[in-house]
C-alpha cells in the first residue's frame, strides 16, 4: 500500500487538468462547413466553371503546405480554408495555372514566410488574391453572367444598376463566392452559433459601409439607402466582412479593437470603391487593416481587474 508510488508512475503537469474539447482543427473544419452554402451556390450558377477552380485551389494550397511541412495532408486544416477562400474570390472559369499560382502564393507568401499559422500578419487568401490582381488584372476581372455563362461586367462597374434581390440570391456576375448574399449569411450564422466569430467585425464593416454608401457617391453627398444596401450586397463586401476580416489570426483580439478593425475595413473599402481606380476595394481594405492590427490591439488593451489610473 505505501509503496504505491514506487510501483507506478503518475503524470505530473501544470494546471488546469481539464481542457475544453475545442481544437484548432475543429475550428477550421467549422469554417469549411460554413463555406459550403457559398460553394454550392457557385456550383449551381457557374457549374464546372466554379467547381474546377475551387478544387484546384484547395488541392494546390494543401499540396503546398505538405511540401513545406513534409507531414500530414490536412494538418490543422488552415490550408484547406485558405484554398477555398481564395477560390471564392476568383472569377468563374479561372485558368488552372492562375489558381495554382494564387494558392501557392497564399500559402508561401501569405503564411509560411511569417512562420506559419498564427504568425502571419496578412490574411493568406487575400495575399494570394492580391498577387493575382497585381499580375493579371485583366483575367481577375473577366466576369461571366450566371447560368448562361456569357461574358459580362461586374455589377460594381455600374453602381446601382443590378437589382438588390438578384444580389441577395446571387443571380449576378462576380467572383465565385461573392455573388450570393444569402449563402454567405447562412455560413456566417453557423460560425456565429459556434462562437468562432462575433458581431463586432462584420457589424463594424457592414454598418460603416452601409452608412458611407448611403450618404456618399462619386458625385457628392446625399441620402440614398438603396445605394447603401447595394454597396453592402454587391461585390466581395459580404465575403470579406463575414469570412476574410473575421480571420482570427489577422484581426484584433480585444472587443473594442475588433469593432475599430471592422469600421476601418468598411471605410477603406468604400473610399476605394467611390474614389479609387479599382472598382472593388475589399481586398486592399482588409490587407491594410491587417497591417495595423498589432497597433489596434496595443491601443485597445482592456483595463485589467482593479487597475488604478495613475
Amino acid at each position: 500500500m505505501e509503496n504505491l508510488a514506487v510501483e507506478k508512475r503518475f503524470v505530473v503537469s501544470s494546471s488546469p487538468h481539464v481542457k475544453d474539447p475545442e481544437t484548432v482543427q475543429k475550428i477550421m473544419i467549422d469554417v469549411l462547413i460554413s463555406l459550403v452554402p457559398a460553394v454550392v451556390v457557385a456550383a449551381v450558377f457557374f457549374r464546372e466553371q466554379a467547381i474546377i477552380p475551387i478544387v484546384i485551389c484547395l488541392v494546390a494550397a494543401m499540396a503546398t503546405e505538405f511540401v513545406l511541412l513534409r507531414k500530414g495532408i490536412f494538418n490543422d486544416g488552415s490550408a484547406a480554408v485558405t484554398g477555398v477562400l481564395l477560390a471564392l474570390t476568383l472569377p468563374p472559369g479561372s485558368d488552372w495555372w492562375l489558381c495554382v499560382i494564387g494558392a501557392v502564393s497564399a500559402i508561401i507568401l501569405g503564411k509560411y514566410v511569417f512562420g506559419g499559422l498564427g504568425n502571419n500578419i496578412f490574411n493568406p487568401a487575400l495575399v494570394g488574391r492580391a498577387v493575382l490582381l497585381a499580375s493579371w488584372g485583366g483575367r481577375m476581372t473577366a466576369w461571366l453572367s450566371p447560368v448562361d455563362l456569357r461574358s459580362t461586367a461586374t455589377p460594381l462597374a455600374e453602381p446601382g444598376q443590378a437589382a438588390l434581390v438578384d444580389l441577395f440570391t446571387g443571380n449576378v456576375s462576380g467572383s465565385l463566392g461573392e455573388t450570393s448574399a444569402v449563402a454567405l449569411l447562412i455560413g456566417a450564422a453557423y460560425l456565429l452559433y459556434k462562437g468562432h466569430i462575433n458581431w463586432r467585425i462584420p457589424g463594424g464593416y457592414i454598418g460603416s459601409a452601409l452608412i458611407m454608401g448611403t450618404v456618399m457617391s462619386a458625385a457628392g453627398f446625399g441620402f440614398d439607402i438603396t445605394m447603401g444596401l447595394w454597396h453592402v450586397l454587391a461585390g466581395g463586401l459580404l465575403l470579406g466582412a463575414l469570412f476574410m476580416a473575421t480571420d482570427m489570426v489577422t484581426s484584433p483580439v480585444t472587443p473594442n479593437g475588433q469593432l475599430i478593425f471592422g469600421i476601418g475595413c468598411g471605410v477603406l473599402t468604400m473610399l476605394i470603391r467611390i474614389y479609387g481606380n479599382y472598382p472593388e476595394g475589399v481586398t486592399f481594405a482588409i490587407l491594410i487593416m491587417n497591417a495595423v492590427t498589432p497597433l489596434i490591439d496595443n491601443a485597445t488593451r482592456p483595463r485589467f481587474y482593479g487597475e488604478v489610473k495613475k
Partner: protein, 437 residues
Amino acid sequence: MTTKTFKGGTHPPHDKPAAGKPIVTAEAPSRVVIPLSQHSGKPCEPLVKVGDEVKMGQKIGDVDAFISAPIHSSVSGKVVEIAPYFNPGGNGPMCVVIESDGKDTWADEVKPNKPLEELTGEEIIKITKEAGVVGLGGAAFPTHVKLIPPEGGLEALILNGAECEPYLTCDHRLMVERAEDMIYGAKAMMKALQARKCYIGIEVNKPDAISATRDAIGGDPDIEVVELEVKYPQGSGKQLVTAVMNGLEVPSGKRSTDVGIQVSNTGTAIAIADAIKTGRPLIDTVMTVAGSGINESANILVRVGTIFSEIAEQCGGLKDNSAKIIMGGPMMGNAVPSLDFPVCKATSGVLIFTEDEVVIEEYLPCIKCARCVDVCPAFIMPNFISNAGEQNDYAAAKKLHVEECIECGSCAFVCPAKRPIVQWIRLCKSAIWAMSK
C-alpha cells in the same frame, strides 16, 4: 432573486460525483505524519521530542511569529520521529511522526470556551489562533490574522461557499450538514472583525446548501445568502467580492480589507465554531476524493497527518488505469507524483484521473482566437503573455500585466491550440520576481 456574478469566466464540465454523498469519517490512522508547516507564514518549531507521550489536540508545534498558526496532534500516542518528510510542495517540511495508542485521549486543555455572547473580539481572535485555524479555501493563511478588525470596523464579511471547482464537494457537504455551526462561526468572525454584514455566497447549483444555510440564519437581518451564477472562477476571492458587492473591485496591489471587505471560506467558519464551542483545535478536515480513477468517490473527514494512500484504500483503492493524482480541484490543483504524503489542514480534495483523461497534447502556435481574452477574469491578455513566455521575454510579459493573473486556468482551459498558458505565466511571474530582488 437574480443570481450575481463577475465579468469573464468559463464553464468547465461540472462533474460533482460526490455532491449527494454525506460526509463519512475516515478510519483512525495508526500513525500520523504531521508537517510543522501547514500554513502560509513562518513554519512552527516542534514543542515535543522523540519518545514524548502526546494527547489528541495537544499543541506539538508553535513559533513566535505574527503570521503563523500552531500545530496540534491529531491522535494520542507516542512521538517516534521528527524529520523532514516528502511533500508535493517540494520543500520537505519538518514533520512530527506519532504512533497512535488507539485511545484518542483528548488533551486537558481541550475544553469549551465561554459562549459567544460573553466573548470579546480579542478573545475570539485568541481562541482562533490557539486552535491553529487557517483558511480552508486552499491558501491556508492563518485566520486569526485575518480577523483583526481594521479602523472603524468592516463593511462586510463574505463567506465563500461558491466551490466553483469541478469535482470538489467538501464545502457543499459542510454547508448542508453543518449550517448551524457555520452561522455560529460567521457570527464569531463578524464580532471579531466588527463587520456590519455577512454575505454567504453560494453557487445556485447547490440548492440544498442554500436552503440549509437560510434555515440556519433564521431571522438574523445581518446575515444573508447571495445566490451566485454557476461560473468558474466564482470562488476566487476578488471575483467573489465583485459578484457579491455588485461590481466593487479590489484595487490592484491592495487587499479586500482596503475596500472594507473580508473574505473567508465556509469551512473556516465551522472550524472557528468548533474551537469556541468545544475547544477543539483544527486537527481534521473534510476532503473530497473523486475522479474516474478511484473506485468510490467520497466526502471524508480525515485527521491531519493521515497518509493519502490510506484514504485511497478506504475509498476502494485506485483503478489499474489511474494515471494522474491531483491535489485540489482540476482547474487549479497540483498534480503530484504519489499518494505517499500526509493530509494537511487545508487539503480540500484529491482527484484521481485515468489514462484516457490524461492526454498530453502537442500545443500549436496561438491563432489569436481571443477566447482567453474573453474569459480572463483579470481582464489581461493571456494570448500575448503566452507568446512572451514562450520566447522568455519577461519584460514584455510584465508590460502585459502578467502579475495581475490569478492563475485560475480559464485561458488554458478554453485554448483550442492547447497552449500551456498558465505554465508560461508562472514562469514569467517567477522570473520577474527573481529579477526584482
